[in-house]
Amino acid sequence: MNIHYYMLCYRYEALVASHLEPVEFGRYMALGTQKHTRGNVLFFEVNPDLKSDYFKLSDIQKRCAPHEDGSPKRSKYISVYRVLEHLPLSAFDKLYLVTADGRVMYLSESQQPEEEKQHDAHLFQELCPLSPLVASAHNPSNFCKFITDPANPIHIPRIFFADLLVDRDDAGHLAGYLPYADPMHILDCLKDVEKGLTKTTKTVSRNPVLHGFFRTINRGFYLGDRTGVKFFRFPERRVLEVEYAKWWRSASESLS
């Protein structure tokens, strides 16, 4: 049996070895077997030829051996802390999005979209290594560089985040279909960073509960640091409804 490496990046950070193929692994992580654990899972498929001095991989064949009855090992945790920063950016392959009831969809790396005007405010849901909701005057690429800049007193080595929708209605309020908790506060934060008087990035919520998360994705997911950014484009609504009908229904109707 082949060993796959997966990096779980929401809601916790871990590098896991498994005999399961990505879709099976995603379903297993969302649902479990007997315990029926539940919740959205986001993970990357990691290059199986991964070599690392940081992670103990030398004896992985031994540690991740099939069970005595020949059944595959579903998950063998290799590391659960500071994983994101210690994997080379090139080792990250497809991003898998798993809904609470185990529907799996993957996104491949794609070309970054053209950036919009510099002064538009953005809303980013950081997913790994921390998970605050932030409003920022930076576009996604610049935000990635800004937050991983060692010159910045508050920085992290690498970040994985999603660019969220901030559509507004005629009255300037956040559009009604966006399921954010406390939309007025979000709006205030967006206005603050738009003005750019004091700061360009502001924490909206330190540890938000993700309501209808997949319905709020704007362009997609970003993974990067000072050296580069990988972009994973989220499909358009129409494509989701047809090509990924089951996944989208589950993702858009989920209560969690």
């Binding site: 609470a100 399921p179 209808g212 047809v242 989920s254 209560l255």
Partner: protein
């Protein structure tokens, strides 16, 4: 013999032909063969002779021909239903996958009705026998007539529910298939599926009432009561059983699927998904169709009984003719409901409403034209029908005011005017229901807004909305009754009661349209479910790019239209129950006045006034009766809501067990849908026994224990409280449901937001209110009325307080004890916890 073989038998062309030939021969024979029987004895008591009106000189040839024409219209309505059903059945059935889903729903629905038939069938036979043996009059033909009419009423009511549901479970597949081609085609198929049930209700209701009158003539009272009671009792079973089934399945499916497992509605992995879809049909098609059918029957029964007691046979024939016009109006107007290939929800809804308006216009023009030709009261007529004299100022028809006869002396257009009030009442109740439950109006918008501040504020606001809507509906009904009173200003109360009964006739003139609108709801809902489970997105997109998205949008739009039309008709169902009950109340007083139903034709207005005057709250027994009557709808609702909770528990348990199978959870193995369907079926059958006992035994207990006047108080209290509670529950539940839909459509955060979670709480609370307890109060009101009327002769003779027969107090006490024991058992059953529940 299985249900399907019975169904096959009735669907055979030879069976239908034989039936029609038999009917034709019977009527031709009755018309041409003049019997030698003496119609009236020297004492004035009737000696019954079947089909006597064919040779009774009181009836003109035109009247006889008109009645036969009404019979023809009733058959015409049934033929129209047959043609439409063929149209529906001939439509494209979609892919095999879609058919598999639809078959599962259809099998579940058939299994439910088969199980119910097995349980109710013997009970109906027993009650028929009871009605035969407890008949307190002396005429043998009436004894048979009452029992047989009960049987026929029950069979008709069951047929309406059964066929309606069968068609709905067939039509939903065709609608889902048509949605892949055109909006208009899908909409038309869905609406016509509903129209089949509507026309069946119209046709069978009119056929039953007319046949009874043709057979029994002026002595139709007994048989009509039996007919009405048969339909009412079946409707109660259908409504209660269907209500418990549908909400137990719905709540069970949602609790495990949406809340515990966080999976979407209609997800094929959820074992309760098929039961949920079956429930929509069982509750909204079979239950609602039977419910409206019984209203249709009971209003015609009330109008015919009161018509005979007031205006004589013209008072009986006129409502039948009006119903005939209504059926014609429904046939024409339902056929006009159409939508274009690329229409939207708004245009489709407009088309449905336009159909209703067209039908209303045809009916109004029709019954005024009919009034001009038929409602002439000349000296000859008044000489043979002297009871009518009291209805005119000084006994002179030409003394009526202008608005009562439009300036034509001898003409009396009051019955037509009260029919018009009935049409307005139906429209007004539609509007009131729509105002309080539709997303386009402020109350539901405010309710959705309240969800932003949490679960409790949503519930609080929903209660307030429900209470207000109950008042609005009661005011509308009160105003319509007041208008009927004004139309009959100066006439004795019995004539006013006839006016109210005619308001009920007018209100249900467009029963065909009303049921079409109602049944369209579950058909569209089920079609949406079939689309969800049965469409293949890739295949559809390959055939025609964008097709899948478009078809799903069409089904979602149709579902929205169906929700609106279904909600609107609920107001009519409740309103008709109240109007019918108020009319029957006058019959109730009339029977008290003359001592037995057999002598109702001998009643004088002085007698009526005297006994109506004794129904006063100054009499403590009457007041006690009213208090008990007012409490029954609460107890009944409590029993039903508990039953839903209990049944839902079993479903939750079963779904949890099935979800433990990793293959089912992974979507690689189909769940055992049949097990959940069986649980729903068995539980619903079991749970309906208690409420049914309460509905039948309570009026008997009050009547035999406290006497006939207390029974009158009981009915008054029950009608008032029942109406208020039913409207409150239906509208609050409907509003919570639509507030949730508004949020799901993308306001206040949409699906998954905190507001959505609060809205789901409101919807879950409202579900058993709007779909189980609320609608079941309609048949409850009518069953209690019918039981009271049917038992009144015995109550007068054997009640404990003042029996008219001396030395029989023991009989009354025995009945009371039996009733109390039965009611106590029903209440105990309702509060019990099963062994499985104890495990919690």
């Amino acid at each position: 013999m299985t249900i399907s073989s019975i169904s096959q038998f009735f669907r055979r062309r030879s069976t239908k032909t034989a039936f029609l030939v038999l009917m034709a021969v019977a009527f031709a024979g009755a018309y041409f063969i003049q019997p030698s029987a003496v119609i009236q004895s020297e004492t004035g008591s009737h000696s019954f002779s079947a089909f006597s009106l064919f040779w009774n000189p009181k009836y003109t040839e035109m009247e006889v021909v008109s009645l036969l024409a009404v019979l023809g219209i009733a058959v015409g309505g049934l033929i129209y239903a047959l043609l439409l059903s063929r149209q529906v059945l001939a439509a494209d059935k979609g892919t095999q996958k879609m058919q598999d889903v639809a078959n599962a729903v259809r099998k579940g629905a058939n299994a439910y009705l088969a199980a119910q038939f097995k349980q109710i069938g013997p009970l109906i036979i027993i009650i028929s026998a009871l009605l035969y043996f407890t008949y307190s009059g002396s005429e043998e033909a009436f004894r048979w007539g009452r029992a047989m009419a009960f049987l026929v009423g029950a069979i008709f009511s069951w047929t309406v529910g059964f066929v309606g549901m069968r068609l709905a479970t067939t039509g939903n597949l065709r609608v889902a298939a048509a949605a892949t081609r055109s909006y208009g085609e899908a909409m038309q198929l869905g609406y016509r599926t509903g129209t089949v049930t509507g026309m069946l209700t119209d046709g069978l209701g009119l056929l039953g009432g007319t046949m009874i009158f043709l057979i029994f003539g002026e002595s139709a009272y007994e048989a009509l009561l039996g007919f009405g009671f048969g339909g009412t009792l079946i409707a109660l079973f259908m409504r209660v059983g269907g209500g418990i089934y549908t909400k137990a399945a719905d709540v069970g499916a949602d609790l495990v699927g949406k809340i515990e497992k966080d999976i979407p509605e209609d997800d094929p992995r959820n074992a309760a998904t098929i039961a949920d879809n079956v429930g929509d049909n069982v509750g909204d098609c079979a239950g609602m169709a039977s419910d409206i059918f019984e209203s249709y029957e009971v209003t015609i029964v009330a109008a015919m009984i009161l018509g005979m007691a007031t205006f004589g046979h013209k008072g009986v024939i006129f409502p039948l003719l009006v119903r005939g016009i209504g059926v014609l109006g429904s046939i024409i107007s339902t056929y006009t409901v159409k939508a274009g290939a690329n229409d939207s929800s708004d245009t489709a809804l407009r088309s449905v409403h336009r159909g209703f308006w067209i039908g209303s216009a045809i009916s109004v023009i029709g019954f005024f034209a009919l009034g001009f030709f038929y409602l002439n009261f000349d000296a000859t007529y008044l000489a043979t029908n002297p009871t009518a004299l009291a209805g005119f100022p000084g006994g002179d028809p030409s003394a009526l005011s202008f608005f009562q006869n439009f300036g034509f002396p001898g003409l009396d257009l009051r019955p037509a005017l009260t029919c018009l009030i009935g049409v307005f009442l139906a429209v007004a109740l539609n509007k009131v229901t729509s105002y309080y439950t539709h997303t386009g109006h402020k109350p539901v918008q405010d309710l959705a807004k309240a969800c932003q501040t949490g679960h409790a504020t949503n519930i609080i606001q929903g209660f307030a909305l429900g209470y207000e809507s109950a008042v609005a509906a009661v005011l509308v009904i009160a105003v319509s009754i007041l208008l009927s009173v004004l139309v009959y200003a100066g006439a004795p109360p019995l004539f006013v009661a006839y006016g109210v009964a005619m308001t009920g006739i007018g209100m249900l003139t467009l029963t065909g349209n009303t049921i079409s609108m109602d049944v369209f709801g579950p058909v569209a809902d089920n079609a949406n479910g079939i689309g969800e489970m049965g469409y293949d997105p890739h295949e559809m997109e390959q055939e025609k790019p964008g097709n899948y998205h478009r078809a799903r949008q069409i089904l979602a739009d149709l579902d929205a239209v169906g929700n609106t039309t279904k909600a609107e008709t609920k107001g009519i169902a409740i309103g008709s129950a109240v109007i019918a009950a108020v009319s029957l109340f006058s019959s109730f007083i009339a029977v008290i006045a003359v001592g037995s139903e057999e002598n109702i034709h001998l009643m004088t207005l002085a007698q009526y006034a005297e006994h109506a005057g004794r129904l006063t709250f100054a009499d403590p027994n009457v007041f006690i009766g009213m208090l008990i009557g007012g409490s029954v709808p609460f107890l009944f609702s409590g029993m039903l809501i508990r039953a839903v909770g209990r049944a839902a528990y079993f479903i939750v348990k079963e779904c949890r067990i099935q979800f433990r199978d990793p293959e089912i959870w992974a979507g690689t193995k189909e769940p055992d849908y049949g097990r959940v369907v069986n649980i729903c079926t068995a539980t619903a059958q079991k749970e309906l026994i208690g409420p049914a006992i309460l509905a039948i035994m309570t009026p008997l207990m009050v009547g035999f224990l406290l006497g006939p006047y207390a029974l009158g108080g009981f009915l008054a209290g029950m009608i008032l409280v029942g109406q208020l509670l039913a409207v409150f529950m239906s509208n609050a539940g409907g509003a919570w449901d639509n507030a949730k839909k508004m949020i799901e459509d993308g306001i206040y955060g949409g699906k998954g937001s905190d507001a959505h979670k609060a809205a789901i709480t409101g919807d879950t609370v409202g579900d058993p209110l709007k779909d189980t307890a609320g609608p079941a109060i309609n048949p409850l009101i009518k069953v209690m009325n019918m039981v009271s009327l049917l038992a009144l002769g015995l109550v007068l003779q054997y009640n404990v307080i003042s029996p008219s027969v001396s030395g029989v107090v023991g009989t009354g006490i025995l009945v009371v004890v039996v009733c109390i024991v039965a009611i106590a058992w029903a209440i105990w059953q309702s509060g019990r916890e099963t062994l499985s529940l104890d495990e919690l």
